[in-house]
Point group: C2
Chain length 331, copies 2
C-alpha cells in the first residue's frame, strides 16, 4: 500500500480566463494535461463543471479515471477558508461560494484548495526559482498583484487562513483606489488594473497613447502584450504607467525585505512575463532604495519565476501531498 | 552534567537611558538583578564596562560570579550581524561596533546578542501576553517604533539577520521624514519622535500646547508621561498627535494582518504603557479598517505586553537557551 502522500494527484488551476488541469504520477511525473476556457460569466456551477470535465480529460490522457486519484489540489484566485469557502474571487465573480464541498462532490476524491498565489509561491519553492529558499516571497503582477510567503517549505496563511495578501498592503495611505476598494495598496499602482487607471487619467487630461486604440478605450481589458508593444514604441503614457508600477512593486519588495528579510523574492505574472527583462533593473533599484536598513537588501535575491503557467498546478500538487501527509491540516 | 540549555543564564538589556542586568537560574527563576544608567554619551567602551559591571553585581546578588554563567543573552537597540557587529543604534550613538566580541572578552562566557525588539517579542511569546501564539507580532511604541516577529517560537530575522524592522516599513510613500532618514515609514508617525515632529509643526504654525513648557521647547525629549497628562487635559495639539500615531499604528497592524495574519499582536513601549487603555479602542478600530480582506482581522487578537520592562531580558534568556541548544545558530 502506498504511503498517504503517494499515488496520482490531480490538480486544477481555475483562473479568470482559463482552467488548467494536470495529473501527476507518484513520482510527480506529468501524466496528463488539459486546458480549457473558464467562461466565468456562466457562473459558479458551470465553472466547476468545466474544471471537473477538464480534470477528467487529463485523467483519460493518463489512462486513469477520477477514482484513481489519491487527491486533488486546486488553486483559486480567492482566499479559501478552512471549511472550503472561496471568500471573494473578483475575476470569477464569486463571493462566499462552497468551493471545496462542491468540487469534492463532483470529483468523489479529497479536494485541497488554496489561494492560487500562495500555491504559485509554493510551486516555485518546490520546483522553480525559489528552490531551497528558507523564506520565499512570491509577487505576481497581472490584472491584480498577488503574493505568497513560503517559510521552510510551508505556506504562511495566518490565523485567518486568508494571508498572505501581499498586494493589498497599504503603501500610500489615502492614495489611489484599487479594485479591492482600498486606497493606496500596492495593487492600486503595481498591476494592470492600477496602470489602466493611471492611463485613463492621462487620456482624460488630453494626452495621447497608442493604447486607446489597442483596447478600444476600455483600459480595463489592457493586455500585457499591448503594454509591451507600447513600451517598446516608447509610448510616453505607457512608459510612465509601467515605471510607476515598477516603483511601487520595488517599494513593496523593499518593505518585505525590511519586515521579513526573504532570501529570495520570485516575480511572475503576465506583466513580468511580457516585460520582466526590460523592467527588472528598475524594480531592483527601487527595492534597494526602500529596504531598511539599506544593507539588508544585499541578502535578498530577486528572481523571475521559473515555472510559468505551471506554478499553480505544481503548488497544488505539493499542497495536496502535504495535506495527505497530515501537515498542515487539510482544508 | 547539565544539558547545554541548563545552568544559570545572565542577561543584559542595554537601552538608550538604562541598562538592566538579570541572572536566571536553571529553572528560569530570578537569582539577581541590577539596574544602572546607560550614560551613552560616554561611548561604546564605557557603556559595555557599565553593562558588565551591572551583570557582575547581579551575579553577586545570587552568590555567583560571571564564570558560573552558562552564557549571556544581550538585547541591543540595533540590528546585530552574525559576526556580532551592532550595525546602527541611534539611541546609543553606535555604528558598526564589535558588540559581541567586546562583551565576550569582558565576560569570558559565550554571549548571544540580538535586537531588543526581537527579543522583547520572544520574551512575550515565552512568558508574556503572546504565549502559545503561532505567529506573534510585537510592536513597541516609544522613542521609535520597534517590532519583532516570532513564528512557532523562533524569531524571524531573515536572510540579513536584520529583520523584523516593522517600524521602518513604508506606509505613506514620500511622507514625513523619520529619524532613520526614510520618508513615510510607520515610525515617522507612530512614535514619540514622529509626534514631536508633528507638535513642532503645529507650534511653528502658531498653535499653543502645554507640551512647550513641559519639554522647554525641545520636543525631542518629550516624555510619555507628559503626553499622557496633556492628553488627559485635552490639549488639542497633543490629542491630534496621539490620534495620528494611533491611526498609523493601526494601519501598520492592519498591514501585518493582511500580509501575515498573526494570531496575536502584542503592543508595548513607553507610549502604550502610559496611554494604552485610553488609545487601544482607536488603534483597534484603525487596524480593523485597514486589514484586508476585512474579515481577516477577526482572527487577530491585539493585547498589551505582559512583561513590562522585563520583556527584553526574558527574551534574551530564552534566546541564549535556544542558542545553547544549538538552534538557531549562535551569533
Amino acid at each position: 500500500m502506498p504511503s498517504p502522500g503517494q499515488g496520482p494527484i490531480g490538480t486544477i488551476d481555475i483562473g479568470g480566463t482559463k482552467i488548467f488541469a494536470v495529473v501527476y504520477g507518484p513520482d510527480n511525473q506529468e501524466l496528463g494535461r488539459k486546458r480549457r476556457k473558464t467562461k466565468a460569466k456562466k457562473g459558479f456551477e458551470t465553472v466547476l463543471d468545466r474544471a471537473v470535465k477538464g480534470l477528467r480529460k487529463a485523467c483519460e490522457d493518463a489512462d486513469l479515471s477520477l477514482e484513481d486519484l489519491r487527491a486533488v489540489g486546486a488553486g483559486i484566485p480567492s482566499p479559501i477558508l478552512p471549511d472550503g469557502t472561496a471568500v471573494v474571487a473578483p475575476n470569477l465573480g464569486w463571493e462566499n461560494v462552497p468551493l471545496v464541498p462542491e468540487l469534492a462532490r463532483r470529483i468523489g476524491r479529497p479536494v485541497y484548495a488554496e489561494n492560487d498565489c500562495n500555491l504559485g509561491t509554493l510551486g516555485e519553492y518546490a520546483c522553480g526559482a525559489g528552490r531551497q529558499a528558507e523564506l520565499l516571497v512570491g509577487l505576481f503582477m497581472g490584472t491584480g498583484l498577488g503574493g505568497g510567503i513560503v517559510f521552510r517549505g510551508e505556506m504562511i496563511r495566518g490565523a485567518s487562513r486568508m494571508s498572505a495578501e501581499l498586494g493589498h498592503v497599504i503603501v500610500l495611505k489615502d492614495g489611489r483606489e484599487a479594485g479591492c476598494g482600498q486606497h493606496g495598496c500596492v495593487e492600486a499602482y503595481a498591476s494592470k488594473t492600477g496602470m489602466a487607471n493611471k492611463i485613463r487619467e492621462a487620456v482624460a487630461a488630453g494626452r495621447k497613447t497608442v493604447l486607446t486604440d489597442k483596447c478600444k478605450g476600455d483600459y480595463g481589458t489592457l493586455k500585457a502584450g499591448a503594454l509591451r508593444d507600447a513600451y517598446h514604441d516608447q509610448d510616453e503614457v505607457a512608459v510612465e504607467a509601467l515605471h510607476e508600477a515598477c516603483e511601487f512593486l520595488g517599494l513593496a519588495i523593499g518593505n518585505y525585505v525590511t519586515a521579513l528579510g526573504p532570501d529570495v523574492v520570485v516575480l511572475g505574472g503576465g506583466v513580468i512575463e511580457a516585460l520582466g527583462e526590460e523592467l527588472i533593473g528598475r524594480i531592483r533599484d527601487a527595492a534597494r532604495r526602500w529596504a531598511y536598513p539599506p544593507a539588508s537588501f544585499d541578502h535578498t535575491d530577486i528572481r523571475f519565476a521559473g515555472l510559468g503557467d505551471d506554478m499553480v498546478v505544481v503548488g497544488a500538487r505539493e499542497y495536496a501531498r502535504q495535506c495527505l501527509a497530515g501537515e498542515p491540516d487539510p482544508t
